[in-house]
């Protein structure tokens, strides 16, 4: 089985065979998987998808593997939550949350890309997997790699929150903490990847890995009853997820699973690291790198590899972008938790806060069926909201003390 035709340079169109390579030898453009969509059409039907287990592999014909999946067999198919309370708060009639805070097993959408990357790494015959990560990817490679019996090398910025470091170490990988920011780690890793023949999921496996993000989009379409949303708000670090969600909608049309796609795609970034949104607002497609300074560390990529393509998607779909302050991010995390009972990580705060801006500015129509992509769990970034929540009521272990507290609560 398998419907992959090969790899193709997004810049100059040169074609390559399926190998663990990621850049065009000629122009350095990124390589992307090319599929035989005519072959997939008719083979992958709604009925077939519906008959399969509820995980991301139910769309396997549209994923870049040759055999059967071997990783992430329980990943994906997260809830699409109809967010009526949040919608009422924002004056939106049809608002949904695509809730990847509960992705199996490490509570972020990275479990999607890693499921595909590790399945592909095994097909290529690698026994060591590696990644450069701001946290979520480290957790996911550590966990999926453990389950798959891979040796693991995980490179992170040393400044990462303690809780994120522990949440990788528990799976027993080789964790390398680098003195530097994510862009420094990335640059180091590309040199390491040159030298050691490992499967670096976001370097030499990137063309395959990145395809896993599409499943977030396929699921939105399926869960909306086989239609694409009018608007989708996507957090951006490298810009990869945004471009892949757009690709997923177009592919579903291409293979005949849906008839139309009229989605506007919106980019969300933190003001402290917003090179993509800055380019969107300026109406240019040259991304000027920045030095990140934001609490949204999972989005703190100052030099976004897919930034250019993200700006093209915004242009193509008539979308826009917004960037938000750390204060707005914290308020949005709390708002999502209080209205919908969903605790998103800082990137989730970025997405909701940006959506609020885009709704208020009229870029997102209040009538539009809108999906917010919440990509990771708030338990991973608790530090960000310490001191910004309420306090517990401390009491003595007797009824009188409780009732004194209750009086205070009721008088609020």
């Amino acid at each position: 089985m398998g419907f992959v035709k090969g790899l193709k340079c997004r810049e100059c169109g040169r074609e390559y065979s399926v190998d663990p390579i990621y850049v065009c030898e000629f122009c350095f453009g990124p390589l992307e998987v090319a599929y035989d969509y005519d072959g997939i059409k008719g083979v992958l039907t709604r009925e077939k998808i519906l008959s399969r287990p509820q995980n991301l592999w139910r769309y396997k014909e549209l994923l870049p593997i040759d055999g059967e999946p071997t990783s992430g067999l329980n990943s994906g198919f997260t809830p699409l939550v109809r967010a009526d309370k949040l919608g009422a708060h924002l004056g939106m009639k049809r608002l949904y949350i695509k809730d990847d805070t509960v992705t199996h097993p490490t509570l972020s959408f990275k479990d999607r890309v890693v499921a595909v990357a590790l399945t592909k790494a095994r097909e290529f015959g690698f026994n060591t997997v590696a990644c450069a990560s701001t946290g979520n990817l480290a957790h996911s490679v550590s966990a999926h790699g453990a389950a798959g019996g891979f040796k693991r090398f995980i490179f992170i910025p040393a400044t990462l929150e303690k809780s994120k470091i522990i949440a990788s170490l528990v799976y027993g990988p080789n964790l390398i903490a680098v003195d530097g920011n994510y862009d420094d780690v990335n640059r180091l890793c590309s040199e390491v990847a040159n030298k050691y023949k490992w499967a670096f999921v976001n370097i030499n496996i990137r063309p395959f890995y990145a395809e896993g993000s599409k499943t977030h989009g396929y699921e939105i379409v399926e869960q909306l009853g086989w239609r694409s949303p009018d608007a989708v708000v996507v957090p951006c670090a490298s810009g990869s997820l945004l471009t892949k969600i757009w690709k997923s909608f177009k592919e579903m049309k291409e293979v005949g699973l849906i008839n139309d796609v009229n989605t506007k795609v919106f980019a969300a970034q933190a003001t402290g690291c917003s090179p993509i949104v800055a380019a969107i607002k300026a109406g240019v497609d040259v991304i000027k790198p920045v030095k990140p300074n934001t609490i949204a560390k999972s989005l703190a990529i100052g030099n976004p590899a897919d930034g250019y393509y993200a700006t093209q998607v915004i242009k193509e779909t008539g979308g826009y972008g917004a960037d938000v302050s750390d204060k707005e991010i914290i308020e949005a995390i709390k708002l999502l938790a209080r209205t919908e009972g969903i605790f998103g990580e800082t990137a989730g705060g970025v997405t909701l806060a940006s959506a609020i801006r885009l709704i208020e500015s009229g870029h997102i129509d209040r009538e539009a069926l809108t999906v917010l992509c919440i990509t990771g769990n708030g338990l991973k970034t608790k530090e960000a909201i310490v001191g910004h929540t309420g306090e517990p009521y401390h009491i003595n272990p007797n009824l009188k003390s409780f009732e004194e507290a209750l009086e205070k609560i009721n008088s609020k």
């Binding site: 030898e25 350095f28 990137r206 703190a300 990529i301 250019y308």
Partner: protein
């Protein structure tokens, strides 16, 4: 002591497999042009019309040249220049 230039794998075929080559001080773009005489084809891969290609990152002593003067960034004797393809990560 000349300028040291680190060559990424996709370009090592042009440098006879060498991971590191030596270059002349000057601007980044002049360095690329002079390397192209020794390793024909190199300039075309990383630049176009005197500008760096979109997906090429160049670092001088670990600092991205886009934080400096892009292709007009000066390099001196003893500096280390890395040519790194853009790579993805994060969201």
């Amino acid at each position: 002591m000349p300028v040291t230039v680190k060559i990424p794998v996709p370009l090592q075929r042009l440098t006879q497999g060498k991971e590191e080559v030596e270059g002349e001080p000057g601007t980044i773009i002049s360095l690329i042009k002079s390397l192209d005489q020794k390793y024909p084809g190199l300039a075309e891969r990383i630049s176009e019309g005197g500008k760096l290609r979109r997906f090429v990152n160049i670092y001088v002593n670990e600092e991205d040249v886009r934080f400096k003067k892009n292709e007009e960034t000066e390099v001196s004797d003893g500096d280390e220049v890395s040519i790194v393809p853009a790579i993805a990560g994060g969201i």
